[in-house]
Amino acid sequence: MADNLKVEELDQVVVRFSGDSGDGMQLAGNIFSTISATVGNGICTFPDYPADIRAPQGSLTGVSGFQVSIAAEKAFTPGDKCDVLVAMNPAALKTQYKFCKPTSSIIIDVDSFKKADLEKAQFEATDAAGAIAEMGIKQDVIQVPVTSMVKDVLADSGMDPKAMLKCRNMLALGLVCYIFNRDLSIAEKFLRDKFSGKKAAIAENNIKVIHAGYDFGANTHASVSHTYNVVSKQTPAKKGRYMDINGNKATAYGLIAAAEKAGLRLYLGSYPITPATDVLHELSKHKSLGVTTVQCEDEIAGCASALGASFAGALAATSTSGPGICLKSEAMNLAVIMELPLVVIDVQRGGPATGLPTKSEQTDLLQCLFGRNGETPMPVIAATSPADCFDSAYAACKIALEHMTPVVFMSDAYIANGSEAFKLPNLAEYPAINPPYVPESKKGTWTPYERDERDVRYWAVPGREGFAHILGGLEKDNKTGAISTNPENHDLMTRLRQSKIDKIPVPDVVVEGDKDDADLLIVGFGGTYGHLHAAMDEMRAAGKKVALAHFRFINPLPKNTAEVLKKYKKVVVAEQNMGQFAAFLRMKVDGFAPAQFNEVKGQPFVVSELVAAFNKLV
């Protein structure tokens, strides 16, 4: 029967899975994006976790969402709104409906729309039809008896009813796979890999349920007039092997790769904090690569112990989010004056204080640049996408090790948890990392603050005979390395620490789009790249002349920064804070007076809102 159904070809489609936080929506979403990536689609995902630790089941605050955008080419964002919404319970329907377009299809588990379920989500209606009417939903709502079908399929499995209910997500996934003509064999492989050995039965039961969902769609045409297909249109340059990666994992991989390239032991001192903890989790797994992770007593010790490891000769890193940066700033500053390599990972979340721990902002920028006592220049690199976390983390390590300085690597909750296709990197193609170890020939004459032509001091790792020395938080004499309060010396050392950072080579910022004749230049940094790029694409498609300059290297800024910023009639700096990057650019580029787009909602930018705001400028 399915053969008679029309298959519509699409360039991009967005699916949002939502349900109670125990309903396995993240897993269903992950499998769906993996299947799509495997067939060569571009993917971009956005897991939207509830902030409550464990909200009451079925309640409005306990809804967990996972949005995935799949595209024929690159998917720059997870999409503002979805084409298909899966709502596993009334609370999900009520809270997630706002992400629907007028044309969206909505799939609900009609079995979980009983009176008691509806009451928990504060509906007055007593059944699904009533709830749909109560919300004024005009779109197609596919009412699927998910729960009862799962129970039927698994009746002979020997599973207890509670365990069966955990497979509801797979029925929804099967149905979505039918609607988008996805190949179930990839889902089967995913589940068999995830649940192997003693857990093999779990995989098989889940696979049965996925097929049931798929067959339900095929047999009933899922109450839709046609199904969709997103064909891969990847260009030859994209050829290669890929994996799905989120930003935190890519960050961890970047550190591992850099340590291997530099021939150093990797040390992470950390303290659990949302949304950065997965960096600690990931690195803790890889002891077979010699990775050392120490879960410290506090954020302070995380950074301080990393600095101790750096002194002792390791590639040392510490991972945290904004509130942790506050606590680490003291030891970060010590790293500045001791001139030791250190990578500080800030996965930004909503602030101030505890703020919005699971949500995303770019509000730590000025803290990372300036949030310390004294003159403390520090390189800052902001990753632009989940996969870019790898390259940016690698670059942060390279700069730290080669320029003997702490470096802040910034990401945010959105790219840390979001995922995209990641081309397997070939480490041989990455630049070498050569720390400035003090040459043996300097034995006997060397002092710790002797510098090379880049103003970088040499690294003498304890254990080397003839190079014993002391570092510390007190200002040192430029020549002897002894404690000094000499005014001229302090002024000189301050300038040397600054010029060392200024001399770090960073690549030029790239202008995309109408780089020669744009009427509007969009400027951003870090994790908003996908949304700003999508906004530019949309405006250009509508005939506007628009360009994008997106910054990864914040300090030092690329050499061509002033030239780029001054080239265009109109410039808008768009960021998820009150204008921190714009302020920094105004400080660094004389006469720069951009328009600003600022939003601090803890949510990713909405492309349509960006386009509307930017259109007012041209």
Partner: protein, 331 residues
Amino acid sequence: MSEFTAKDYKKGQPRWCPGCGDHFFLASLHKAMAEIGVAPHNIAVISGIGCSSRLPHYMATYGMNTIHGRAAAIATGCKVSNPDLSVWQVSGDGDGLAIGGNHFIHANRRNINLKMILLNNRIYGLTKGQYSPTSPRGFVSKSSPYGTVEDPFRPAELCFGARGHFFARAVATDAEGTVAVLKTAHAHKGAAVCEILQNCVIFNDGTHEAVYTKEGRAKNAIYLKHGEKMVFGENNEFGLVQEGFGVKVVTIGQDGYTMDDVLVHDAHCEDNTLQLKLAMMEYPVALGVIRDVDAPTYDDAVNAQIEEVKAAKKYHNFAELLETNDTWEVK
């Protein structure tokens, strides 16, 4: 015999006040290190901030004079990532127990193989005379002109409470006792807290008066030695006996107490009950190695676990790590 002399560990001219206990301790540390015989380039001495934290500047070893309170945390990373180094952490009572209290207890709990020197003068000297977390209740200082209204930490109690496996005490002016304590601390594998009773001549002169001179120690201190009777006094006329749940001072030969009743010190006893009693005594003040118990160290365990996992897992470099993921090919 070590190939080194105290001179090999010495550097620079200390800038402490004349008569400061830190001078005495530093000389003992140089001497102890020479006797221990680890080459200066294989030693890292790490301090925080305070008068005593200047100490690494006077060592010809690798060293860091870091930030206030963080020495134990910095030393932790240093030792864990480079276990071949002999790592010594030097703090005062403010640096180690006030601002650095959290790191102090956790270094002990984890049992990191650090030699943790606590120079206790019960005052903030560098900031010119405020009460510290070891100052007694009622202590009058610049920041407590009417006397403090808080009780002090007793370092041994804190160490034991954090599951510390080594605690020793020496008086800064007692070179022999200090050197002995430092050598035993070095031989102990794990976190080794050495409380050094040290006098601040400017802001808290006389704080350890009862035991600061040889004569004072003869009267008021007991040198504890593992396996030996707990006797003290100018003529060893006093002894410690157990009474109920406590320890009591008796005169041997009086009130029916004989040498047989006197306790024998057991620094290696895993149960720290009696060791704590000894460490808490105000008279006599217990000196020497009070607790010295073997236990797995964190740095060993971290590195052993890495070796175990290396043997168990099939991926050992970045390229192999990538292969552990699900991948797909775009052709």
